[in-house]
């Protein structure tokens, strides 16, 4: 086995293996792991608002899937939406 063959096998083959593994890792969507909420880090996703698929009239919507409400910024909320009188609604608050 001459020098060229030795180099090809003991350097070329490991390098090829490393290149293949690196290609698989970076091609396989490295973005998916970043798409996650972590406490303390900035959360910059679009607001989402879901209810189950019943229609306001009570009729069920054909198909499935919760319907995404259009979550608007607070400035876009109509002023008249403060219809609920104080003390009527209940509930709880918490922080984490």
């Amino acid at each position: 086995m001459d020098i060229a063959q030795t180099v090809l096998i003991f350097v070329g083959v490991p390098l090829a293996v490393i290149a293949i593994v690196a290609a698989i890792v970076y091609a396989g969507g490295g973005k998916t792991r970043a798409k996650r909420y972590r406490p303390g880090r900035a959360y910059d996703f679009a607001p989402v608002w879901f209810t189950s698929s019943a229609k306001p009239g009570g009729a069920a919507v054909a198909g499935h899937g919760s319907h995404e409400l259009v979550a608007r910024t607070q400035a876009a909320l109509p002023a008249a939406a403060t219809a609920s009188a104080p003390g009527v609604t209940g509930g709880a608050s918490d922080r984490w």
Partner: protein, 135 residues
């Protein structure tokens, strides 16, 4: 169904891809919401996004935008402010006392603190359903 002006028509829009939940989490949330509504005959809804200050009033405003606020329960969480609000309507409040809501809020906050948004909402929904009982 929408509380806003337009309905989201396509399910594969980029807006959905921008959401904080994966497809699997969305399916689990959908199932949890459907079961919650069926079991209690109240309307549960889940909001995840920023809430303007004052947070409580904003959450109540969102709640009042729902089709039937009196029988609705809103679970709202703002990950940036690390704050969550549970709002119950007039009728829903008779089934879900503020103490019950606080209990659910504790369990949601625990999951959120671990970075699990979908899990927090689902466990909160499950607890509220158990506490409200069957209709």
């Amino acid at each position: 169904m929408t509380a806003g002006d337009q309905t989201q028509t396509s399910t594969e829009t980029p807006a959905q891809a921008e959401g904080p939940f994966t497809t699997r989490q969305l399916l689990r949330l959908d199932e949890a919401l459907r079961l919650a509504d069926e079991t209690t005959s109240l309307t549960f809804s889940v909001y995840c996004g920023d809430l303007a200050e004052p947070v409580r009033e904003t959450a109540e405003k969102l709640h009042s935008e729902l089709p039937d606020p009196a029988r609705s329960v809103l679970l709202a969480a703002s990950p940036n402010q690390r704050q969550l609000e549970i709002v119950t309507g007039e009728q829903a409040r008779r089934r879900l006392h503020d103490r019950d809501c606080k209990l659910a809020a504790f369990s949601m906050a625990a999951a959120f603190n671990g970075g699990d948004l979908a899990g927090g909402f689902i466990s909160g929904l499950a607890m509220l359903v158990n506490l409200a009982g069957r209709s």
